[in-house]
C-alpha cells in the first residue's frame, strides 16, 4: 500500500467520526417499511419521473373531482390543464437544515425552463450550473467535468429509465410535475384570496397535508381566470431522528401555448450515462 492510499484510508475514517448521536437505524426501520409499503401500493397513481412523461402521467392520476370539495377540484383541474400545454417556468428554491437547534447548510438556486409536455420536449438551466434537455426520448444532463469522456459534457439517459423516485427524496428532488402530483393529494385546500400577476388575475388557494409522518407539505396555488395554475409555492418539512430539512420552492408559469424548440446536444459532445 502506498502513502497516498494510507492517507486516503485515514482521511475517510476521519470523515465518519462526527456521527451525531441519536441515529437508530432500527428505530426508523418500522416507519421506513411503512413508507415502502405505502409507496408500492400507490405506485400506480404516482407520476413517473421526468418532464417528458408529464402529459401521459397526468392522465394516470385518478382525479376524484365529482366527490371533491370545490377548491380542491378547481386546483386539481388547473394543475392538470397547466401541464397539458407548453409553458415557460421560473423556479426559485431555498433550503436549510436545522441541526441541534441551529440553521445549517442554507442553499439557494434559481432555474428557468421551458417545456412542451405533449411533444415530450423540455430544457432547463439552473444557477448552480445544472443544465438539462429532454428531447427524442432521452434526457441530456450537462456534466462540467466528464472523467471518462473528455470533451463530452452531456450524459444521455433514456428518459423512461429515469424511473420512479425513491421514498422521501421524491419530495425534495421532484420535477414540477411531481410536485403538482403531490399537491393533488393534499387533504385540505381552501380559498386564500385574490391573486394577480403580469397580465392576469385570479384566485389563490392554500393547501396543506402530504403523506403524513415525518413529511409535511403546505403552500399556495394561484389560478388565473382561464383556470391555469400560474404561481405555485410549495414548502416541505422533513423531520428525521437527527435533524429537520426545510425547503421552499416557488414556481411561476408563463407563456402558455408558446412554441418550444429543444434540440439534442451535438452527438460528438454526448455519452451514455451515468
Amino acid at each position: 500500500m502506498n502513502d497516498a492510499e494510507t492517507e486516503a484510508r485515514r482521511l475517510l475514517a476521519a470523515a465518519t467520526e462526527d456521527m451525531p448521536p441519536g441515529i437508530g437505524l432500527l428505530d426508523g426501520f418500522a416507519a421506513a417499511r411503512r413508507r415502502d409499503r405505502a409507496r408500492r401500493t400507490r405506485r400506480g397513481a404516482v407520476l413517473s419521473a421526468g418532464i417528458a412523461v408529464a402529459a401521459a402521467a397526468v392522465t394516470a392520476v385518478t382525479l376524484t373531482i365529482g366527490s371533491a370539495p370545490p377548491a380542491l377540484a378547481t386546483v386539481t383541474s388547473a394543475l392538470t390543464r397547466t401541464l397539458t400545454q407548453s409553458y415557460q417556468l421560473a423556479e426559485q428554491d431555498s433550503s436549510y437544515y436545522i441541526w441541534n437547534g441551529r440553521m445549517r447548510y442554507p442553499a439557494h438556486d434559481t432555474c428557468t425552463s421551458e417545456a412542451d409536455p405533449a411533444r415530450h420536449l423540455a430544457a432547463a438551466s439552473c444557477s448552480g450550473g445544472v443544465r438539462a434537455r429532454v428531447v427524442g426520448g432521452y434526457t441530456y444532463l450537462y456534466v462540467p467535468h466528464p472523467v471518462d469522456h473528455p470533451g463530452r459534457h452531456w450524459a444521455r439517459i433514456p428518459t423512461a429509465s429515469l424511473g420512479q423516485l425513491p421514498s422521501i427524496n421524491s419530495f425534495t428532488t421532484a420535477t414540477p410535475q411531481q410536485m403538482l402530483a403531490e399537491i393533488k393529494k393534499a387533504d385540505k385546500v381552501t380559498v386564500a384570496g385574490p391573486a394577480s400577476g403580469p397580465g392576469w388575475t385570479g384566485t389563490r388557494y392554500a393547501f396543506s397535508g402530504g403523506p403524513g409522518g415525518e413529511i409535511k407539505l403546505s403552500g399556495t396555488v394561484s389560478v388565473d381566470q382561464q383556470g391555469r395554475a400560474r404561481v405555485l409555492v410549495l414548502a416541505i418539512r422533513l423531520t428525521s431522528a437527527i435533524n429537520v430539512f426545510v425547503t421552499t420552492q416557488v414556481l411561476t408559469f408563463s407563456d402558455f401555448g408558446a412554441p418550444v424548440t429543444v434540440t439534442p446536444p451535438p452527438a460528438d459532445q454526448t455519452f451514455s450515462g451515468p
Binding site: 476521519a14 456521527m19 448552480g128 425513491p166 451515468p274
Partner: protein, 168 residues
C-alpha cells in the same frame, strides 16, 4: 420491533454503523446517509428470507446501497452535479475533528460520483478492485483509473482548502 426477524435485527446492530459510515461518505451528510441506509435495509429485509444462512448480507446490502444511490443521483439531477468548486458550508464552529470530517466529506462531494464511489469502496470498505468493479459495473482497470484520479483530486481539493483557510 417485535415483527422484525431477530437475525436481521442482530445484523443491523452489528453492521449498521459500518454501512452508515460508508453511506455518509457517499452522500455527504448524515441525514441523507440515514435515509440511504434505511431505504437499503428495507430492500434487504424484503430479500432476507431468500438469503442463505451462509450468504453475505454485507455484500448484498452494499450492492443495494450503490444501486439506490445511483437512482438518487438520477432523481436529483436537477440539484446535484459534479463540481470542482467546494460548496461554502458552515463548519467553522465545529470542533477540530468535526471540521476535518466535514472538510473531507466536502472534498469527496466535489468528485464525480463514480470516483467517489471507488474511493469509498476501495479505501473505506476495503474491497478488492475486482469486487468494486463488479459492484459498479465497470472493469478493474477503470476502478484503478478512478482510484488514481480520485486520490489525486481529493489531495488537491484538501490541499487547496487548507491553503485557503490558512490565507483567511
Amino acid at each position: 420491533m417485535a415483527d422484525i426477524d431477530e437475525r436481521f435485527a442482530a445484523y443491523v446492530h452489528e453492521r449498521g454503523g459500518h454501512h452508515l459510515r460508508a453511506a455518509v461518505l457517499l452522500t455527504g451528510d448524515w441525514h441523507a446517509a440515514e435515509d440511504l441506509v434505511q431505504e437499503s435495509l428495507v430492500k434487504l429485509y424484503r430479500a432476507w428470507p431468500r438469503l442463505r444462512a451462509d450468504g453475505d448480507p454485507d455484500a448484498y446490502l452494499r450492492r443495494i446501497m450503490v444501486n439506490t444511490r445511483r437512482s438518487w443521483w438520477r432523481a436529483r439531477w436537477r440539484r446535484e452535479t459534479p463540481s470542482d468548486e467546494l460548496p461554502e458550508t458552515v463548519i467553522a464552529d465545529f470542533g477540530d475533528g468535526q471540521a476535518l470530517a466535514a472538510q473531507v466529506r466536502q472534498a469527496l462531494q466535489a468528485l464525480p460520483r463514480q470516483q467517489r464511489a471507488v474511493l469509498v469502496l476501495r479505501y473505506y470498505a476495503d474491497l478488492p478492485e475486482a469486487e468494486v468493479a463488479d459492484l459498479l459495473g465497470c472493469s478493474p482497470g477503470t476502478v484503478k483509473t478512478h482510484a488514481h484520479r480520485g486520490l489525486r483530486a481529493l489531495r488537491e481539493h484538501l490541499g487547496e482548502d487548507r491553503h485557503e483557510r490558512r490565507g483567511n
